[in-house]
Structures are given as C-alpha cells and as structure tokens.
Amino acid sequence: MYQYDKFDQQMVDTRVAEFRDQVERRLAGKLTEDQFKPLRLMNGLYLQLHAYMLRVAIPYGTLSGAQMHVLADIADKYDRGYGHFTTRQNIQYNWIKLAEAPDLLEDLAKAEMHAIQTSGNCIRNISSDHFAGAAADEVADPRPYAELLRQWSSFHPEFSYLPRKFKFAVIASEEDRAAMRLHDIGIRIVKNDAGELGAAFYVGGGMGRTPMIAPLVRDFVPLDQLVTYAEACLRVYNRYGRRDNKYKARIKILVHELGKEEYTRQVEEEFALLLEQNIEPPIAELERIKMFFGDPAYDQDASSEIDRSDPDFALWVDTNTKAHKQPGYVSAVISLKPVGGIPGDATTAQMHLMGDLAARYSFDEARVTHTQNIVLPHVKISDLHALWTELDAAGLGTANLDQIGDIIACPGLDYCSLANARSIPIAQQISERFAKNGKGDTLGELKLKISGCINACGHHHAGHIGILGVDRKGVENYQLSLGGSEAEDTSLAKITGPGFDEAGIVDAVETAADVYLAAREGEERFIDTYRRIGMAPFKEALYG
C-alpha cells in the first residue's frame, strides 16, 4: 500500500490548517455561505437535509486495517456509530457538525487519509479495480497510475473551478470491474505489441441525466506522458466545457457536442504544446510509487484444499470469493447488503471487526468496491472458514455478491437534499422479497441499482435492472429500466414504460425476474437473456 512521505503528509496537514481557518472565518461571519460552499465542498463537506455530510476519500478504494479502525473511531466520535460506503469507493458520515469538521480531518490526516476533493467542481477521488493487485487477468496493478494521478490532481491550480465535477477510473484488465467507461476519463492500462505498458484514454462517459459511454480518444499514451495527456484533456474541458447550464456542464456533453474527432484534435493540439512545458513527473517517480504496491509475502506452499461440509460456508465461498493470481489464495468479498439492510452501511463494531480481519487474514489490506462492499484481497484458502465464521457472527456473512440482494442504492430522500424519492426502503423491500421467495440464488448474477433522482448516484442506468425514483405530483414514483451494464460490455438500460408506486415497483422487479427465469437458456444471466429476447416479453408481463 502507498505510504505518505513527509511531502504528502505536509500537504494534507496544510489542508487541515487551511480548512480550520476557513471554518473559523465562516463561523465568524467573514465568509458568506455562498463563498464558503465551494471551499467546504472541496473538503468533502455537504449540507444535507438534516445535517452536514462528510465524505472521506479512499483513494482507488484501498485502505489498511489500521485505517479501517480510524474510520470506525470517527463514526463513534463524530457521527452516530455508523458510516456509509459509497459507489465512489469512499465513505460518508451523515451527522457531522461544522465546528467539529476540522478536528475530524485532523484525525484522518494522522492516519494518512483526507477528504480532499471528494466533492466540488474539481477532480474527485480516483477509483479503480477493487481486485487490483490480486486479479489474475491484469497486465499490471492499476493503482500506481491512480496514485500518480491522485498527486497530480490534488490541489491542481488550474482545474479546481471546472465547469462540473470530474471523475477518473483506472483499470488494467479487459474485464471491467470499475465501470471505467462511465467516467469522465476512464483509463485502461494496456500492453502494446512491443510489450510496453501504456494508457488507453476513454473520455466523456458518465451517468446522470444524460448517460453516455465514453469513446476511446487515444489507444496508447506512453507512461512517460500520462500526466501531460490528462492535463491536455482537462484544459480543453476547462476552457470549452459548458458553463451556462449545470446539467450540460459535464465533459460528456462537450465531447458529444464537439464530436469525438474534434475533441480529440483539440486535445492533441494542447498536448503537443504541453509536452514542451515539461510538466511530466519522471518515470523514476512512477517506479517509486510502484514499490509500495509489490506483492505481499505469500505463503508459497498455501493449500487450495477446502472443507465444504458446511453448506452455508460452501455457498458463501462459491458466491463471495474470487480467484486470485496466487495459488492457495482468493479475494473474499464482505457483503454490506444483509437481507433488509441499508446497502453500504457499516457500524462502528463492524468496521473494527473488518479492520481486525484485514490484519489477521489479508496482509492488513482491505478494499471498498463501487458496489458498496468490502474486499479482503489476499486471503489464504485455508483461512476462509475461520474468516467466514467471524463475519457470519457479525452479520457480515451474507452470500449474495452480484445477486439481486447485492443492490446499489444512493442515500435517497432519507438523507439527500437533491433526491426526489427514497431509495433505501425500496432496496430493503426488494432484498426482503427475494430472500423470502428464495429466488436470489436461482437468479444468479443480477445487478440491481437504485437512484433516488435523475443524478443517478445509484447507477440505475448501468443496472441489469435499474430503478429511478421520481417525484410525480408530490408522490414518489419509480421507473423501471432493463439491460444496463457497467462491465466491459457497457450498455445503458432502457425504461420499460410507465412507472410504479412503492409497492408496485417491488412486484415489477419480481415480474421481470420471473420473465427471465421462464425464458433463460443454459447458463444465461439475466442480462444475456434480456439481450437475446429484447424488451417485448418483459413489457408484456409488466403491462400486458
């Protein structure tokens, strides 16, 4: 894992001091709320329906067990004993007092963590593959590149007042576990024919009210030009991205309106000029960062044998563990989606336990997934039963990874000031319905995602089944959509037809699931069947 040196620490400490000064000026009335807003946002502090919400960055979703303990302590000290892991691989706290926020940031800084640029119209926390460093199919660990970009994008003097927020994802395998092409810039580290590593840049993807899949803008940027190319992409956006309409201000609209070719031409022109400015860190810096991401000290004799006599354990192993590049190891996914629970929430006690388990079973490392679960990336197969036993006792042993119970949901109208409808109760009811009818396992992989407003924080456009909550004349109404995917076969879901009320949407999801069960052939997943048979049979069952 990356560790701060004196420079990184100084930057984070300086930010805490700066924010403390800004909060003092705000509390003294020297800053208006309008002036303070962008400053607090760049430190992750939102004003929500009931209180301030603070979002802590977990760069590329990687944290140590010790850091997990700090997150737990913060939940206790400054919040109400829980935190919410988000689709940006971050954690949010929902009940923060403004006057205490600088102390909270200081606690984070002591553990090499921060909330820098987790909101505001700037470059946000960079996300990545939650199996990075463990996956057998990656050409390299993508996280050193993400860390290089984290440092470049932190406190960037030119790009802190962009037209709109800006999100990067960096992956390094063909299988996409990070929704890469649904980001403002998606980078895939690739190997060319000569065996050299480089970066493929996809620019202009995103969800929100106008979902778009990012087109490929450059198929190979050499690693010693990575930062310069990113700078060129951002400069064209900062200069020409729309600022007249907040809903048309994301880079996807610029790329769409200019056309990929013209946007690319402008980027290449800017890139040529920027190359003369020598702004690229030397390869030695990338090598320095890579040193932190070496393999842990695996047991080379680790056994792959497993005692499957306990059926509950066997089910969890089949559902919630993933193959590892190292023989005798797997990556284990801790579901934060217990039946009827709030997706992504974890209590102080659960976070402390996960911190302990990361230390004991996974070389003190954990990951946050964009699907709001936690990964222990490097677990010995022979330790799995002991791990599962402890998880299960703490309500963290739910075997539902990528199943219909593993729902992504935004905080919705229960917390968020932008929301039009509640998301959490819908997620809870669907989770309970499918636990009760026992169809969850039978359905297999079925990604269900719920957003409480058109901003799409719950990724509903990318769900095999997506649900969008809207406000219809003061009543919550839920639109159903089918056929989205955030994986390497990225696609956007299509709306089935008229929306449903709260009870109706739960029934509608079951109806859609039943259409699939009746029509599926062989090993088809829901999304495969949908792509084969199309929308018509689903419409017929829902509205016919």
Binding site: S160, N238, L273, R288
Partner: protein
C-alpha cells in the same frame, strides 16, 4: 484593505484595458482584458507590446481564467496578469500558480488574509510556470 495587490516590482500600468476585440482591431493598446470564453491565445502574436492583461472573473466559480493566464505564461508573457472581478482570498494562491501576479477584486482583500493565503502552501505537486519545484522533483534530486 487592499484594492490592488501587486506581486511585481515594476510600475503600475494605469492604461485602461480594452476588450480583446478592440485590442486586435488596433495597434497601440498596451492593456487588454480577457473575458471568460475569449481565447487568450489570440493575444500571443502581440505579447511583446502588451504590458497588462486583465482576466475577468464575473463569478468566482468560473475557472476559465486560470487556463487563460497559464496559457499566456506558457507562451512566454512576462507582463502583468491581473485578476479582476469576483476574486476571493481563497482563490489567489492557485491564481498565482497559474501566472497571476496582481489582484484587483471587486471587494478589496484583507491584507493579512491575503498574506496567509499566499504563504500557506510550502510545497506543490504540479509544476507550472511559477518556477516552484514540484514535490516529485525534490524526491528525485
């Protein structure tokens, strides 16, 4: 309170700035004002006779002016670049990194707050034309 904060030692250029359009249409102006959305690159052929570029920020959240200033510095401009309009003390450190060396906000700056803001960041992650050595350069000395 400070009406005009200047970080340069030469004499203040008092000529009123003209618009980019007016500047390009006449030959003797030495001061020009860039509005958001205007392409500062159009000035590059004329940099040798420009003494002052004002970059206007009608609202502080419109960050186009940061790119405008940096582009002029990257093209070698050594005259004054002055941020005018809705320029707040919490913005001036980044502005300075992008090449601004004068600030004339609508609301005058508190001198102490401005000094604190400009001195706060001892290190930087990115190189710009301000000549500061980024952290990565210091790591590999």
């Amino acid at each position: 309170m400070v009406e005009l904060l200047r970080l340069r030692k030469d004499e203040t250029h008092s000529e009123a700035a003209v618009t980019v359009e007016a500047f390009l249409g006449r030959t003797n102006a030495g001061a020009v004002r860039i509005e958001p959305g205007e392409d500062g690159r159009e000035l590059i052929p004329h940099l040798d006779r420009i003494r002052l570029v004002e970059v206007n920020f009608p609202v502080f959240g419109d960050g186009r002016g940061y790119s405008a200033a940096r582009i002029l510095r990257e093209a070698g401009f050594t005259g004054e670049i002055r941020a005018v309009g809705d320029v707040l003390v919490d913005q001036i450190a980044y502005m300075r990194r992008c090449g601004f060396d004068a600030f004339a906000p609508d609301t005058p700056l508190n001198a102490d707050d401005a000094k604190n803001a400009l001195e706060r960041w001892g290190e930087v992650y990115q190189p710009t034309t301000d000549g500061r050595r980024p952290i990565w350069a210091q790591r590999h000395e």
